[in-house]
Amino acid sequence: MYALIVGAGKVGWNLARELIDKGNEVTLVEEDRRRYETVEEELEHATQYGDGTELWVLERAGIERADLVVAVTGDDEDNILICQMATEKYGVERVVARCNNPRNLQHFELLGIKPAVSATDLILRLIEHEVPKYGLVHLLDLKEERLEIIEMEVGHGSPADGSRVSDLGMPDGALVISILRDGGGFVPVGESVVRGGDEVLVVLDIGLEEAVTQRFIGRAEVA
């Protein structure tokens, strides 16, 4: 595989080293002269100096034959443009973009850049998973299909506490697929009763999250 990586920061440099160790051909492009020289000492000819958002720099680095373009500069606009040009101008099949500010993820999505990886967002997801107080965990996001699977704890005194699944009044496009209780789990039927303290797994259309969660979150927690 030929991978073109733009941005030789910590992420880009380590990624280049790993990919080279695994036997791939790599070119790493860096626009800061001093950073380039540091990295070049180790990676030698796999390193090129230049602004990776300029077409001639990308072409010199052989973007036309790249199997993969990875944009990991510290600048989200640059990463968006690099991936957009790689895909739309040079027909690169696979791109990966780094999203520095998670608020910019929506711009990557709008312009069809995927996957966009945000370290902040990843860590936040991990925190959500580790800190039960947060209540809600995203288990899976299927962006293409516009579906997600979430896990949450049923709050004591919430509308769902003591309710049968068929009486939950779930909106169309949302379905309880598992109830986890006392270390076990089962796939519920309409008659199954949800209790406070249960963990439920729900598959839902993106956008229904709020309508769904308010049924499971305890009244006290809402306030």
Partner: protein, 130 residues
């Protein structure tokens, strides 16, 4: 544009930038009816505050080509602004994005063309011999 009777809203990340709008004017920019919002253009909230939703035209002219190209596409695709104009200094990127349907203005290319025309004697400046 403001003097021409249009409603104009300016967004800049530097709060001091309004001084440039006020410069040489008898009245201040905002007194003349212009709007000024402090924020960066990648922040949707800032764009909304500056009134992008009812804009008929959008000009992306920050000092960064890539920023301009991204926000112009946001204006075009997310907010469906009718007329979007982008400043791009790099002629190569300006040309490619123009081919993709963005109205790009490349000051570098324009300067090259004017300089070349002047060298060829195709344009003359009044009162300048030669």
């Amino acid at each position: 544009m403001l003097a021409d009777g249009h409603e104009v809203s300016v967004l800049d990340e530097n709060p001091e930038a309004i001084a440039l709008l006020n410069k040489g004017q008898e009245q201040g920019w905002e007194d003349l009816g212009g709007a000024f919002t402090v924020g960066t253009a990648l922040e949707i909230d800032a764009l909304l505050q500056a009134g992008i939703e009812r804009a008929d035209a959008f000009v992306a002219s920050t000092d960064g080509d890539n920023t301009n190209l991204v926000i112009a596409q946001i204006a075009q695709r997310r907010f469906a602004v009718d007329r979007v104009v982008v400043r791009v200094l790099d002629p190569a990127r300006a040309k490619w994005y123009a081919e993709q349907g963005l109205q790009t203005i490349c000051p570098t290319q324009t300067a090259i063309e004017l300089l070349e025309a002047a060298v060829r004697g195709q344009i003359r400046f009044e009162g300048v011999p030669g």
